[in-house]
Amino acid sequence: MSATASLRSPGATARQTSRDRRPGTGRLVAVELRKMLNTRAGMWVPIAVAALTALVSIIASSNHGGHEGTFRHALHAASVPGAYLLPVMGVLLICSEYSQRTTLTTYTLVPNRWRVLGAKLGASLIVSTLATVTALLFSILAASIFGHAPGGTGSLPLSIILQTWLFLGSGMVMGMAFGAAILVSAPAIVAYLLLPLVWNGLAGNISWLQTPARWLDSDNTLGPLTQQNLTGTQWAHAAATFALWIGVPLVIGLTRIGRGDLD
């Protein structure tokens, strides 16, 4: 620890080279992925998702309680662990920076906070894509092992695979949006789980809410994504659900993150 270890003038390395180049978007996304995985908690959540996905694929393929054992059924089941845990990862992706106060470092290195948020969005899409591929591989593997036929009514067209990807991706982004709006992990997770539930409860009991509920109840509007090709109306319902449960918290979050002073 000698203070004079380096006798050059400060900033002498790479004086003429790349030091004033703004870090590119690809690099920011890679760094966000790294930050998502390089903490103790961050490392275990994806491992848990993968392990549960494998487990659920096997259970769904070996024991399908009255259903016809199909590839589609296996994929639907395999998407469940990700559907629960990816939104939690999305919440933590934003909130852990605020609760651990690493925003002080993050925003000093990248002062444009919306670029950081954009990079986190990119990282979420990559993680949810990997989760979709994992679910697909495990479900195909399990379904094949238990001798289910890939074709017929339970076949797995590309459209269902893409819809499953949308289902998992939108869940993670929805978690991120709630995280951005609330900025504290526990309340953000609770809000993410509870608000749609409260909404559905209200809609079930108040007659004039029933029509809007059909558009905004995420169980009804997004649930079919992993099971059937959506009709035009169903797509409209899904879009309305995204607008409410992703759009609104995201706009609140962008405002809070963009303006706020850091503690």
């Binding site: 620890m1 000698s2 203070a3 004079t4 270890a5 380096s6 006798l7 050059r8 003038s9 400060p10 900033g11 002498a12 390395t13 790479a14 790349s18 030091r19 004033d20 180049r21 703004r22 870090p23 690099r27 920011l28 890679a30 760094v31 790294r34 930050k35 390089n38 903490t39 103790r40 908690a41 961050g42 852990s96 651990q100 106060r101 690493t102 925003t103 002080l104 470092t105 925003y107 000093t108 290195l109 990248v110 002062p111 444009n112 303006r259 002073d261 850091l262």
Partner: protein
């Protein structure tokens, strides 16, 4: 090369109706260490955060290397910042914290090990999770992080907090060396002793306002100050005070006992003799003692004023 590396221009920060920082202006030049001094809650951190784009000023502005901090394309390669050493993810390993930022800034990974070594964190410490670090280790990691991008400017908030005396001496040498090689350092502290030995310039802030700035010599104004102490305890001190005041010599209490005055030792000695007070001590005050007295005077009445208005104190935090 730029002649002004950091410039604060009438920086003002209000929270609601309360003013935490008012009209703060100063500049830091290359090759200098500037000590940003003030009691806790005086507005130091708020000012530094406004410099680094972490807090929006209500009024005024600031530039680092000639532009607002947020406009630096890759700020970590130009300005090393340490605002709070505790603000690290407790579940991340020390070396990984540096490696992640090195990737972001586009710095060679080799520098991670070099910086850890420079700040005296060994390989085992680098592998530990930051949650297990002592405050002193976090401070060292924070300094390593600030130096990682090989910047020309360092902005450090209370970097000596949590360091042991040996660590403090090491940091002083490191910052002095950084400035001597042409770098610019701005570091804050609530303790004069921490910055006095290294700083070329001092900026003193109290209750959100700059109360003095300049070189230590300029601040004490070259006024000859004298320390005087009576031989027979407190009662004699009071007699001494009376004797001096009769000669119209202005005195104040020295923080470590005895009296301080701006008059020459000779004049003080004669006045004591006329008052019939025996002296235990009569000497010119060292620069350090004068500075300490000045810092005390500059910040104390402000702090007292402060205590009457607790909401201001809170806002300043």
């Amino acid at each position: 090369m730029l002649s002004t590396m950091i410039e604060a221009n009438s920086l003002t920060k209000r929270y609601g109706g309360r003013t935490a920082v008012r009209d703060v202006s100063f500049r830091c030049e290359p090759g200098t260490v500037t000590g940003f001094l003030g009691p806790n809650g005086a507005g130091k951190s708020t000012t530094l955060k406004m410099l680094c784009g972490m807090a929006q000023p209500t009024g005024g502005g600031a530039t680092v290397m000639g532009m607002p901090f947020a406009e630096l394309p890759n700020p970590g390669r130009r300005v090393g910042v340490l605002i709070d050493a505790s603000a690290q993810h407790s579940g991340r390993r020390g070396a990984e914290v540096l490696a992640t930022s090195a990737q972001l800034m586009g710095v060679d990974h080799k520098r991670v090990g070099e910086m850890l070594e420079l700040v005296g964190l060994d390989r085992a410490a680098g592998r530990k999770r930051v949650g297990k670090y002592s405050l002193g280790m976090r401070q060292r990691l924070g300094i390593a992080h600030a130096l990682l991008g090989d910047p020309e400017v360092l902005i450090l908030d209370e970097p000596a907090n949590g360091l042991d005396p040996e660590g403090m001496r090491w940091m002083r040498a490191l910052l002095r060396d950084f400035a001597d090689r042409g770098g610019t350092v701005l570091l804050s502290s609530h303790l004069l002793g921490e910055v006095q030995a290294t700083a070329d310039r001092l900026v003193v802030i109290a209750r959100g306002e700059i109360v003095a700035q300049g070189t230590p010599g300029e601040l004490t104004g070259g006024v000859p100050r004298t320390v005087v102490r009576a031989a027979d305890g407190e009662l004699a001190d009071r007699a001494l005070r009376r004797a001096l005041e009769e000669e119209e010599i202005v005195v104040s209490e020295s923080p470590d006992g005895g009296l301080l005055t701006e008059a020459d030792p000779g004049i003080v000695g004669r006045a004591a003799m006329r008052g019939g007070v025996a002296l235990a001590e009569l000497r010119p005050a060292s620069d350090g003692a004068s500075l300490e007295q000045l810092f005390f005077e500059l910040t104390t009445d402000k702090t007292e004023y402060h205590a009457e208005l607790p909401e201001l104190q809170e806002a300043a935090r």
